[in-house]
Structures are given as structure tokens and as C-alpha cells.
Amino acid sequence: MIAKYKNIVVNIASRVMAPFMMLYALYALFHGHSSPGGGFQGGAIMAAGVMLLRLTLGKERSSRKFPVWLAPVIGTTGVFIFAGTGIVTMLGGGNYLDYGFLPFPFLSPSEHRFWGILIIEIGVFLGVSGIMVTIFDCLTAEQE
């Protein structure tokens, strides 16, 4: 079990920085269409924010913000969103991960692909951030 870090400067600084890191992770995710960024990078920044809280606040207090059981759930949900998008396009009549067959009405084929890319980037984001926090929690789990 990671204990609370006993230094007020580190504590206050990390508590100020962590929300901005998570917000920047969302920016990197949603701005991935027009600048460098995307699911992998955003997920890594998001996981870094959660890990910073885990390291400085201790596992017990940071679990109130981000429970330990939530990380594997988020990770598997992300991979499920990615793979499920491919299944949906197959049900629409196309190939696997052919976003032109997503069931969006009133959109041109290129805009179908735009939203398809955003959906699978969200899947990658959730998968990477959840699994990275899961690995961190497993490595720092208490020994019996």
C-alpha cells in the first residue's frame, strides 16, 4: 500500500497539476483529428494523472477519486468499443472497421469516417488509460 507522501509542497503541487493533466488528455484525444495527438497519447497522459495522485495522495485517498476496481472496467470497455465498432460496420454490410457503413443518417461518407475515427480513438483512449492504471495498481498491490 502506497502511503501519503509527507511533503506539503509535493502534495499541493500534484493536486493542482493532476486535473489539468486529465483535461489536457481529453484535449489531446479530441484534437487528434487536426493536430498530433489521439487515443494512445491522451490515454497515456490520463493514466499519468491518475498515477500521480496514486503516488502522492496514497492509494487509499486516491481510490476515493478513482477506485481501484474502475481501471480494468474502463480498459475492457475501451477495447470492447473498438472491436464493437468493427462488428457494427459488419452488420451494416461492409468490411470489418469500414467506417463508411456506420449507421449515421444524414452524413456524407467522409463524415462517417470522421466520426468513426473519433469513436475508435475514444476506445483506444479508454483502453490505454484503464490498462495502464491497472498495471500500476497490480505492481503496487500490497503483499500478504
Partner: protein, 95 residues
């Protein structure tokens, strides 16, 4: 015996410098990596995917299957960590 790895490393560096002469120049538009499909990606990715950043278009759309594989690699790593590092550990040393 101590000098043997250094000699092998020097020979390998020499081999790499020898092979480097046959590589195309940096930014050569006649090079194979610039004449195959990258032109198509650069020219057509905005019309195909409505996405200004064509790296994202290649990563998530043209090569989406590859990205699914990368994500599942990370997922497998997480599952292996859960299986190996949590739960009851038996003491195998007394078997």
C-alpha cells in the same frame, strides 16, 4: 577475451556504415517509400475521411486493423498483470 566484443562491435559498425551508402538520400522524392502509397494518403485523406491530420487518418482508418492489434496487445498485458500479480500466491518452493 575482453577485446573480442569490442572488435565485433567495430566490425558491425563498419558493416552498417557500408550499408548506409546504398540508402536513398533524406527526402528523396524518387525513393521507394515516397513513390508507393504515401502520395495517395497525402492527397486523398481529407476527401476520404474529412480529417486534416493524415497521420490520424492512416492510423485509425486506413490501418485501423493494425491499431486494433496494438490496443489488444496492451489489453493482453493488463490481463496478464492481473492474473500474475494479484490473488493468492501459492508457495511453490516446498513442492
Amino acid at each position: 577475451m575482453k577485446w573480442f566484443p569490442i572488435v565485433v562491435l567495430c566490425l558491425f559498425v563498419g558493416l552498417l556504415f557500408y550499408a548506409e551508402k546504398d540508402l536513398p538520400a533524406f527526402g528523396d522524392i524518387e525513393a521507394p517509400q515516397n513513390t508507393h502509397v504515401s502520395d495517395e494518403y497525402i492527397q486523398r485523406s481529407y476527401e476520404d475521411t474529412h480529417t486534416p491530420e493524415f497521420v490520424t487518418a492512416v492510423l485509425a482508418d486506413y490501418r485501423g486493423y493494425d491499431t486494433l492489434g496494438e490496443t489488444s496487445v496492451i489489453f493482453t498485458a493488463g490481463v496478464i498483470c492481473i492474473l500474475l500479480l494479484t490473488g493468492n500466491r501459492k508457495d511453490d518452493s516446498k513442492v
